[in-house]
């Protein structure tokens, strides 16, 4: 319940405050958002599997975001930033899809 409330509050804050993103963070924000989405879907699936643990969720959320940002940063340093971020988005997208499939099986039994 609180988690859902937090999500709503966050979206509302982002929409109404309209903060400007620091230039240094700009390349990492979209990747970080996708990574966090992946962690959230994983957590939802774990919840449905009855194996949810908040500590694991926090760690996986933070580490997902950090690793994604690190990969993008490394790619930028190596000169393959855009390709590598595309790759990260693809991998995370696949994982989100497989997690969403598991959630769907739990909820809809299909």
């Amino acid at each position: 319940m609180i988690a859902l409330l937090g999500l709503v509050v966050g979206v509302a804050a982002g929409l109404f405050l309209e903060p400007s993103v620091p230039v240094a963070l700009q390349p990492y924000l979209p990747i970080a958002v996708v990574a966090a989405l992946d962690a959230t879907f994983g957590a939802l699936r774990a919840l449905l599997d009855d194996i949810f643990d908040d500590k694991v969720f926090v760690v996986s959320f933070v580490s997902n975001v950090l690793v994604a940002a690190l990969i993008v940063y490394l790619g930028d340093q190596l000169g393959v930033g855009s390709q590598l971020s595309t790759g990260v988005v693809v991998v995370l997208g696949i994982r989100i899809f497989s997690n969403a499939a598991a959630i769907r099986r739990h909820l809809l039994h299909a």
Binding site: M1, I2, A3, L4, L5, G6, L7, V9, G10, V11, A12, A13, G14, L15, E18, P19, V21, Q26, P27, L29, P30, V33, L37, D38, A39, T40, G42, A43, R45, A46, L47, L48, D49, D50, I51, F52, D53, D54, K55, V56, F57, V58, S60, F61, V62, S63, N64, D76, G81, S85, R95, S98, N99, A101, A102, R105, H106, L107, L108, H109
Partner: protein, 280 residues
């Protein structure tokens, strides 16, 4: 992925290993042994919703708030008025280079088009000048060929011939002298235009002994209109041993008049060429 040491459950599967990933190949995972078989997915969700707020719930809420915040910010950045705000530096550099190349191309095209325009304007000017020149030549040649009327300064020479002694020779002499003095158009008796093809002949019984100029018969007094420099033309007629003397020898008189403007309205017959062809 660190595992909680006191957690009896398997680790949370936000990072599923391939072996653990439920897919079409692993349908038994649907009924996981760790999961009580009597609880459906929606019941679990509802119970999670009703769960007492704890530390873990608050932390998860904060993280989800962060996620929502970041997602909303990113969406607003992408949708903002500055479409390149979130673009990567490499992409921007590439964009800038392609724009610079396009600008180079465009300015080169502009230069070429300017050159073309200049040359076209030049050739148009040249053509205009040439056309003007051609029109002037056409007018001059029309006057010389006698196909148009003419007006300008000149002289009117009247040859009185009471005895009928003036012959074609005197008239021809007069015409030659006028031409020599630069007469541009000559007309006799307001009846015949004297051009290159005009012949002058003595009279015969057919026309009562009158002179023939071109196709016309002319009678005394002969009035010759000539356009040219008036002083030169008068000089050409009255000089000693010239036309005046010739005519006076045979008994006629010559008067030279210089009105302000001489009008010549007679046209020469249209020239027809049967044999002539232009040759280079």
């Amino acid at each position: 992925m660190p595992e909680h040491p006191t957690n009896p459950d398997p680790p949370q599967r936000s990072d599923p290993d391939p072996a653990l990933a439920p897919g079409p190949v692993a349908p038994p995972d649907r009924r996981s042994p760790t999961r009580s078989p009597d609880r459906s997915g929606s019941e679990i969700l509802l119970s999670a919703m009703r769960r007492r707020p704890g530390r873990g719930q608050v932390v998860a809420g904060i993280l989800l708030a962060l996620l929502g915040f970041a997602a909303a910010v990113q969406v607003s950045v992408v949708n903002s008025d500055t479409p390149y705000a979130g673009t990567r530096r490499d992409d921007l550099v590439q964009l800038l280079q392609s724009l610079a190349a396009a600008q180079d191309r465009s300015s080169r095209q502009l230069d070429e088009l300017r050159d073309t325009q200049e040359s076209l304007v030049d050739s148009t000017d040249q053509r205009t000048v040439a056309m003007e020149e051609a029109r002037r030549q056409l007018e001059a040649l029309q006057v010389l060929a006698g196909t148009v009327g003419a007006a300008g300064p000149g002289v009117v020479i009247t040859i009185d011939d009471p005895t009928g002694a003036v012959s074609a020779q005197e008239l021809l002499n007069a015409i030659q002298e006028l031409r020599d003095a630069g007469a541009e158009a000559i007309e006799i008796n307001d009846a015949v235009r004297v051009v290159a093809q005009t012949a002058v002949g003595d009279g015969s019984e057919l026309n009562d002994g009158r002179l023939v100029v071109g196709t016309e018969t002319v009678a005394a007094p002969y009035v010759i209109d000539a356009i040219g420099a008036p002083e030169t033309l008068s000089e050409a007629v009255v000089f000693r041993g010239g036309l005046t003397d010739d005519v006076e020898v045979v008994g006629g008189t010559v008067t030279v008049d210089t009105p302000g403007e001489v009008r010549i309205t007679t046209l020469a017959p249209e020239a027809e060429t049967d044999f002539i062809q232009p040759s280079t």
